[in-house]
Symmetry: C2
Subunit: 188 residues, 2 copies
């Protein structure tokens, strides 16, 4: 959707504010890192009032989590290829591309940073992870319904996502296609 | 070694300064979290000159890494039980106890925080991880010398350490003995 379409449809202003605030957060993260800016600075960058941000998101942690989830859903949607093997390989490759791409480390670091950011951060981090785990579980449930022998979502977290996250966080990159396929092979 | 022994032996003052600086760092981390204090504040808390810290450690990141490594080596030493199975189970249980214990999350978060802390942080983090991976590799090499079929250190990172780190970072705890043994079983 381009800016013109967004401005014309009902709710256009709301969607535009959301897009501008998300962009301001993304820019501030890449310039300063997580935890190094305030709601006021996001508002100034986006050209909106502080109160608009508090009204919609409640606090900075929820806003950060919303930005991360929106980005993850846009760039690493859950695949539906018709087989568990295909779904997991596509999903793992998408996640690897996302977390090793530009600003990708920032998304992984957000999930980690939120968990150390007081009660609001913990809650926002839990909500973000719960939503992604729910999507992952739906993918695995579809496989079970087809009669495939699917692992549970925590198995995918432990043996596909966790190794990739830790390797990126520790700078042990790149994540090669062979490496990613090896993780899926081992789990299946 | 108690404080009296440390003070009497040659190099006692140096060891005492190290202990006091390490304690100051540990206290500041638990009070404020990583990234929220300076070398000057560590020096004031430890009762030493800023220059003593810069002379010995060079920068805050190297000091943080030294504190983490000293702590890991003291609390999660590499086991030598005579079998790979025994070594890996003991090692995994020690790491789990450490990262789920008091301040344990702080050690995991340090490793992550260092990687986002500029070039000095990256270097300090790399050194910390390289030293622990070297120790782990020695344990695996001993198994190979006994004729056992050992995984490599990255395999242990991917399938034993990474899942435990990510579960702790994401608040998916406790790490039960059954869960930990399951990780080792799957790798072996």
């Amino acid at each position: 959707m381009n800016e013109g379409q967004r401005a014309r449809r009902p709710g256009g202003r709301s969607a535009r504010v959301t897009a501008e605030v998300h962009q301001a957060v993304t820019d501030l993260i890449s310039e300063r890192g997580y935890g190094n800016f305030t709601v006021g600075e996001v508002a100034a960058r986006a050209g909106v009032a502080d109160s608009s941000i508090y009204r919609r998101w409640g606090n900075l942690e929820t806003l950060l989590s919303d930005v991360a989830l929106t980005r993850l859903n846009a760039r690493s949607p859950m695949p539906d290829t018709g087989s568990l093997d295909g779904d997991l390989r596509t999903y793992a490759a998408n996640v690897a591309r996302e977390i090793t791409g530009p600003d990708g480390l920032a998304v992984v670091r957000l999930a980690v940073a939120l968990s150390g950011n007081g009660q609001q951060g913990l809650q926002a981090g839990d909500d973000l992870r719960a939503e992604r785990m729910r999507q992952l579980q739906s993918m695995l449930d579809r496989a079970r319904e087809r009669g495939e022998n699917a692992p549970d979502a925590l198995g995918v977290l432990d043996h596909i996502l966790a190794p990739m996250y830790i390797r990126v966080l520790f700078g042990i990159v790149p994540l090669t296609p062979d490496y990613i396929d090896g993780l899926v092979d081992r789990l299946l």
